[in-house]
Every structure is written in C-alpha cells, then in structure tokens.
C-alpha cells in the first residue's frame, strides 16, 4: 500500500519543512544562548561566545537540589503509575464488568482536564484532609497523570495481545503469577517501558499541578519558573534549559525505538496464538 502512495509534491514538502523549522528552531536557539557572553539581556546576535556559564551552573547548589528532587519525584511517581496503570489496564481490557467505561474515562480525565483543575482539586483535597504539603504530595499529584500514560500504552498492547495466550498458559497448569511472569509480562514489557519513560519525562517536566501541590521544595520546573518571573542569573538559566532539552531527548528516542520494535514482537505474538488455535482444532478433529 505504502509503496504505491505518490511522492509528496514540492509545495507540500516545503510546507512540512517550514512547520518543522517552526517547531525546532526555537529549541536550537536556546543552545546558542547557553554560550553567550551577554549577561544582562537577551541580545541577538550574541556579542561573544564563552563556556564559563557551564562552570557557574555546575557550582550552583540550588540547581542541583532542584534536579535531585525532580529525579526522585519522577522515579517514584513513575513506579506508582506503572503498578496502578498496568492493573487498571488489565482489568479494563481483560474483563467486562459494571462501570468499566466509567473507569476508563475516569483514568483518562486528569489528562483531558486542564491542569489547573487537577491542581485545584488536589490542593483542596489536601486541605480538606489536613495533609501538609511535602515531597509526597508532589508525588501523589504527579502519579495521577503518569497513570494515564502507562494505562494508555498498556491498554493498547493488551488489546492486541490475544487472550487465548493466557488461556493456553492456564490450561497448561500455570498459576496466575506464573502466567503473569512468563506470558503477560514479556508481551507488554516494551509497552510498559515506553509508558514508564514517557511518564518519567512528563513528571520531570510538570509545572502546573506541581505549583498547587508543592510546599517549600522546588522541583526543576518550579526553579525554572522562578527564574522566568524573577531572573537572577540569566545565562545559568540558559545552560539549565539546554541541558533539559538534551536530557529529555534521550527517553523520547528510547521510547520511539522500543514501541517500534514492540509492534514486531506483537506481530509474532498473534502468529503464535494463531498456530495454537490451528493445532487445537487439529486435535479436536
């Protein structure tokens, strides 16, 4: 099919190229600004290039504290999301029960609603139960929307994984845990890894919900927001912004390649279950 498709015309190529440039050039611009010698303004073109801001940023304890907190929060909320999201996806895709549609809607809601609504809801809930704002309130807030990403990835893979594989494993005498360990996990593993990476990136970057659920701590996005509103040392912000772009690029690449390979694994999975079904039929005859 695809090979029959006509090649894109020149105007279409130009339009697509212009769109890509619009998307990518602003990010590249930050890279240039990280090396500028100009300290007080955002002057373009930069009057000179220097490496000294990397050293300055390296020596700043507040930057390190923000990065550490962000990594911890992202790691723990990704872990929570992986467990709860997979369970949710297994329940929704594996069985039919009363309120199933409602649950799948409720899980997706934190992403569909504006972040400010989720933030206010969490904040008033914490106030209501008199929970003091801490590291754990940030994690809770992040986990709500991290679950969505993991859930979406897992539910798509569950839908494409044939149920007869699980039945076959049960028929052959595996208990529930063994089936999960040897049949389900290898099938959904790459989807979970991709979902987990995206959840991590999402949490690492989240700012709106965090402003409502954080106490005195500053995650990296909160630190950046502070610098945007009340700049202290602009070049340091440039360097941190550049590093953030580079760091987020890696999980995206990883998730991209994982889900692509996953499609091939899933293809063989269907093939296996198909042969299973044929052999069962042969036995019956």
């Amino acid at each position: 099919m695809r090979s029959d498709a006509p090649r894109a015309s020149l105007p279409l190529k130009l339009a697509a190229g212009a769109g890509l440039a619009f998307l990518l050039l602003p990010l590249l611009l930050i890279f240039v600004y990280a090396f500028t010698t100009e300290e007080k303004s955002f002057q373009w073109p930069p009057p000179g290039l220097t490496l000294k801001w990397f050293a300055v940023a390296w020596g700043r304890p507040d930057v390190w504290a923000a990065i550490t907190l962000s990594v911890q929060v992202a790691a723990i909320s990704t872990l929570i999301a992986l467990i709860l999201g997979t369970l949710c996806a297994a329940a929704v895709s594996g069985s039919k029960f009363f309120g199933r549609e409602v649950i799948s809607l409720l899980v997706i809601l934190p992403i569909a609603l504006p972040g400010i609504v989720t933030g206010i809801a969490l904040r008033s809930a914490f106030n209501l139960f008199e929970i003091p704002f801490s590291f754990w309130t940030i994690v809770l807030g992040h986990a709500t929307f991290c679950i969505v990403v993991v859930y979406n990835n897992a539910v798509a893979r569950f839908r494409r994984t044939s149920g007869s594989l699980i039945e076959a494993s049960m028929d052959l005498g595996a208990d529930g845990f063994q089936t999960f360990r040897h049949v389900i996990l290898p099938n959904i593993g790459t989807a979970l890894l991709a979902g987990g990476m995206l959840a991590f990136a999402l949490s690492f970057d989240e700012v709106i919900v965090t402003t409502f659920t954080a106490g005195q701590q500053q995650t990296l996005p909160l630190w950046m927001l502070e610098e945007l509103i009340r700049p202290r040392q602009r070049p340091v912000t440039n360097v941190v912004a550049m590093v953030v772009v580079l760091v987020t690029f890696l999980p995206i690449l990883g998730a991209f390649y994982l889900t692509r390979d996953g499609d091939q694994i899933e293809g063989t999975g269907v093939g296996v279950s198909h042969t299973h079904r044929i052999s069962f039929r042969e036995q019956n005859q």
Partner: protein, 191 residues
C-alpha cells in the same frame, strides 16, 4: 524522522519552550532583529499599535501570547491529524483523481471530510490546554488576566480556595460542552 521531529518539541520541557520564546520575542531578541534586517520594523510597530492585541513590545502583547500558545500546543494538533489522514484509504484518493478531480478538489471533498474527526480531536487538546494555562500569559502577555491566572491568583495570594474552585467550574463546563459536540462529530473514534 519527521515523526521524531514532531515528537521532540512535544515532549521537551514546557517551560523550556516558553523560555525559548521569551528569548525570541525579547526587545533585543532575534524576532525584532530579523524584522530590522528586512527593514520591516514599521510593519511590526503598526501591528503592535493595534489597541487590544498590541503592546509596548511583542513579549507584553497578546500577539506574543498567541504565538507562544500556537507553538507550544502545535504538536498536539499535528499528531491526531496525522493519524486521521493516514487512515484515509489510498484507493479513495486514486478514485477521486481517476474521476478527474484536481488535487485541491480531492483534498476539499475527500481527504478533509474524512480527516475532520482528527482535526476536532486535536482541537480538544489545544483548546483544553489553552483554557487551563496560566503560565504562558503570565510570562509572555499583557497584565490582563486569563481565566487560569484568575484561579491561580485566588488560591495563591488571596487564599480564597472556594472562589478559585468556583472559577474552575467555568472551564469544566466549557470543556463538557466542547467534548459533547466533538463526540457528535466522531472525534473520539479518531483518538
């Protein structure tokens, strides 16, 4: 490659993107510099002098806010549209061309109606995200409040969470109506 080119800005940090635009739109920044090189500064000044959307400079005007909103949410529009266009059967396009339609006509009468659910689905994301955002108008924009900023101001400095919560009902209701309309147009099947 193209897919990655869209995914990278989508997943890179929201604040970094806003920050990049603060660099671009600054008075001494690249945007003004380009206009100066092209001797188009009067055009820019004319746009900025329009009463409501203009301002002292791009970074404190609604024009700037619109630009940043457009940039930040663009990938959320590209991906659903791409998904729905990809699902348009190629033989329909061939048939339309065989029957003598020009590419423009094929687009207008075949591709566009079939891709419409994807466009509506994309607009759900962009609309919802813009509605709830209070950081972009705070950093790039005039002093007038967007609804998200009003909520944030009420809960933060004023400490009036009930009023803030009441404000959030507005975007919830708007989104509810919007989602209902989108569902009628079949946008959920395109997700």
């Amino acid at each position: 490659m193209f897919y990655l080119g869209v995914m990278l800005p989508l997943w890179s940090s929201y604040l970094v993107k806003v920050y990049a635009w603060k660099l671009i739109l600054a008075k001494e920044g690249i945007f003004n510099w380009v206009f100066e090189q092209l001797h188009l500064t009067p055009v820019l000044d004319a746009v900025l002098s329009i009463p409501v959307i203009g301002g002292n400079s791009l970074s404190v005007s609604y024009v700037g806010t619109f630009l940043v909103f457009t940039y930040v949410w663009l990938p959320y529009m590209i991906l659903p549209i791409q998904a729905s266009i990809e699902r348009v059967p190629a033989n329909l396009i061939d048939a339309s061309a065989d029957l003598g339609a020009s590419p423009l006509k094929t687009f207008r009468h075949v591709i566009f109606p079939l891709a419409l659910p994807g466009i509506v689905a994309g607009s759900i994301f962009t609309f919802s995200l813009t509605l709830g955002d209070y950081i972009i108008p705070q950093i790039v924009g005039s002093s007038r409040l967007f609804i998200g900023q009003a909520v944030y101001a009420q809960q933060g400095t004023a400490g009036n969470i009930p009023l803030a919560a009441a404000f959030t009902v507005v975007p919830i209701v708007i989104m509810g109506i919007y989602l209902w309309g989108a569902r009628k147009m079949g946008a959920f099947d395109a997700l």
